[in-house]
Symmetry: C2
Subunit: 535 residues, 2 copies
Amino acid sequence: MPHPLFSPEVRFILEKNDGAAMREFTEALHSATVAEALDDHLKVEDSWRFLSHSGIDKQADIFSYLPPEEQVRLVHGVGKQQMAELIEHMGHDDRANLLRRLGPQVRDAILRLIDEAERRDIASLVNFPEDTAGSIMTTDYAWLPANISVDDALERLRLQAPDRETIYYVFLVDEQRRLQGVVSLRTLILAPRKDILADIMETELVTVGVTDPKEKVAQLLARYDLLAIPVVDADSRLIGIVTHDDAMDAVVSAATEDAHLMGGVGPVRDRYLEASFGLIWKKRSVWLSCLFLAELFTFTALSYFEDAISRVIVLSLFIPLCISTGGNSGSQAATLITRALALNEVRGRDWLRIFRHELLMGVALGVTLGLIGFFRASLTPESVRGSSHPRHEAFTIKVPASAPLVRETSGIYLIPGGISQTMVSPEAERIRLPENFDLKEPAPVDGMLTYDFPERCSLTRPPLDRWSLALVIGLSVFGICVWGTLVGSMLPLVFQRIGVDPGIASSPFVATFVDVTGIVIYFSIAGVFLGNILL
Amino acid sequence: MPHPLFSPEVRFILEKNDGAAMREFTEALHSATVAEALDDHLKVEDSWRFLSHSGIDKQADIFSYLPPEEQVRLVHGVGKQQMAELIEHMGHDDRANLLRRLGPQVRDAILRLIDEAERRDIASLVNFPEDTAGSIMTTDYAWLPANISVDDALERLRLQAPDRETIYYVFLVDEQRRLQGVVSLRTLILAPRKDILADIMETELVTVGVTDPKEKVAQLLARYDLLAIPVVDADSRLIGIVTHDDAMDAVVSAATEDAHLMGGVGPVRDRYLEASFGLIWKKRSVWLSCLFLAELFTFTALSYFEDAISRVIVLSLFIPLCISTGGNSGSQAATLITRALALNEVRGRDWLRIFRHELLMGVALGVTLGLIGFFRASLTPESVRGSSHPRHEAFTIKVPASAPLVRETSGIYLIPGGISQTMVSPEAERIRLPENFDLKEPAPVDGMLTYDFPERCSLTRPPLDRWSLALVIGLSVFGICVWGTLVGSMLPLVFQRIGVDPGIASSPFVATFVDVTGIVIYFSIAGVFLGNILL
């Protein structure tokens, strides 16, 4: 994202090739701002020309603030020797992040040029799996032995300070690097100068394991309002710290991942307008296609009820309403539970309490929606409840003379007992004539009456009873809402239990599952109440 | 959320009424842990009995870590005088948060007992609107004049330290309290003791206005990796700071709000299992009801196409598939754009670039899904494309002797030209006989043939052409996908422009809107390609 004010200035300075201005610009502004100003699709050599006018520490700092894709682009446009030097001056976590993104060939070429101690440090960090505490920790923390005085400590801290990510927490370790306690710089400043660190250190420590998920690290940091949290290995040896800024980044990226999951995007880590079209198309289309394939089951389910639909067309008009009720109530419950799990407000073992709570809630919500559905369905006009078919061609109807057609009102004829008694159409019952047409009453021939109907008549099916329809819709909405709520609330717990991200439950996949089952619930209820009509 | 280990211990100590153990417990553990252990539905007087054994500073600290609902509960169970004393020892931001949640009567009663200077400080903080920088800032920051030496500064900082939220950033102000610069404690520690602060202070400052949204504060803090960010008023006077821990809380609560919005829950701020059933029911049912009412428009839209459905039943089977395609592609696009907006990766003025990008993407995705849809629809068996109706009763058919029924294969009779030529049913074309039944060929009477059909025949409509159906489904899916993608990507920008949370665009409301328009697109395309059959 270019900086609206400074990016044009950078281009201007580059055009003039004004070295002094470049130095002035990089040294005066915050590294984050400089990075933003440089992140403007500049030519790689221009970016390096600009950067090279500041000191190596500032260069490394600015470089760290560039977005990862831009960092990788710059690496490929500069000599390995220069890059190696820059990397030696970067924060231990930032450089591990960068090297993790480079191909093994480039990475190894650069690593070969780096001092051995640093190289070993980098290698240890790069190998931690993504999303673990190890992958976001840094090894440049401030540490001291516990048996020195405050005065000594402050003096030694001064020497360490320039190379440390933070000196506000000082970690006290023994000869085996086992963590003994922490002293904050604030405590040091306030303590009498002759006190021994061991006497003033905090020993009730919050630590994380190196393979703990980074979300857990961020949660602990937030709960205890810490600036940094020590990361220990299986033997309680201190191997790094995670600082507040990296925890914040972890929270933000977790929120993005959750949102993408809920939106059915799949984890897209690249910035929106920067990422390659093909890559994004692949990710988006894979998710949409999977959803589409899952949703195809609605077609399969509906095929099964095709007969019912063809008999009572009005049932099909309520399909989207019924299934969206399941999807909405399901994703509502899933979102609440997923979020509560993420914030540690509920745990897996609370499942029975959650089940009871959501059962009651589902019933309460189902009654609310069911009543709205009942009310709305009862307003369905007769013309929709009993559908009518316009006919283009003229046609004739023959009926026994003992049961002639009945003129109901002007222009509408009723076939007693329905056409089904004499004709193949099982539904038609009324015939509406075009305007200004009078039907001639036929004379009986062989005990049969032959009616000649003109073009543009309408055949009308018997309307479904208003209250039967309302009952079916109301009950279906109720049942689907209860079902959706229960599925939505239980699935995140099931997913967590089997080690899958519970966020999947708030994604459209579950809505799709509820869609299909909703169709079955809907037509089953319709079958019970309209059985005589549907079969 | 009770603490699994310590909450039982708290109850045990309370039962024994062991004062020494209570003091030991509260003083030894981190305040956050004590708060968690006490947050176990204890009786209010038990909580206070436990707390009262620690010093007032620790009490205030533990109290600050309790969840807001629990804090309010405790306030109502203790004397106003005791509460006032506790509040004087709480962090300035924490107590403002608490008082904001109390009713005006209780608040005023407590405020009256507080020292006047503190009272004025509280009043100024309480009145900032929620979600602004002012509502999460604290006024107990460390500040110094700029013209003193490092040595002096360290000495004066020692005196301020016990009452300050943080001393790691020291803010340098002039007589009008205008912010001149910042010095970090790290810089102070490293600097020669005789240096003057004005010479070593950082003057390129990142500040926020008091009414800036708290999300912006958190973003700036994260971008510049700051521990705290100064909050200034319109005259650049320093009036508070927001620290990293409050910014982290703001990020977490923003993520929760976004997730709730996407899940169609509405902002539920209370913890899942603690909140009152009625309150949660109200919030959830309002959202679900609104979605339900919006989704009712799908019924209205479908009513309009009822005739088309009754003629080609198979069209209705693809409705859920088509509309869910719109919902999914729409919420995918909306989520990506909303998130990119939240992370400042795109801005409103990029709308044309986004439009072009999403138009291309929508076409690419639409082709992908459309091809799947085309392929799947082409596999629809003939029995589904032309639906068949089982008939329970026996019936007869009379046709002219010049056009007798044709025996197509064993048990299936074709009516030449379709039944529509002679009968009222416009669709039926074939009659399938029950197994083991042979139809007797009738003799002509008066030039007419009368066929007697038994019970349990099936009347079959002419099947829709395989490729016509596939074309309609493929094109509809394509069109709806493009439409959903465009709507989903543009709406967040529109919402942001008119000052509405763009997150609404990822909520089910937009999916519902796309559902309704998807129905119109679907049947319009069907109308174009199946016009002769539908009209």
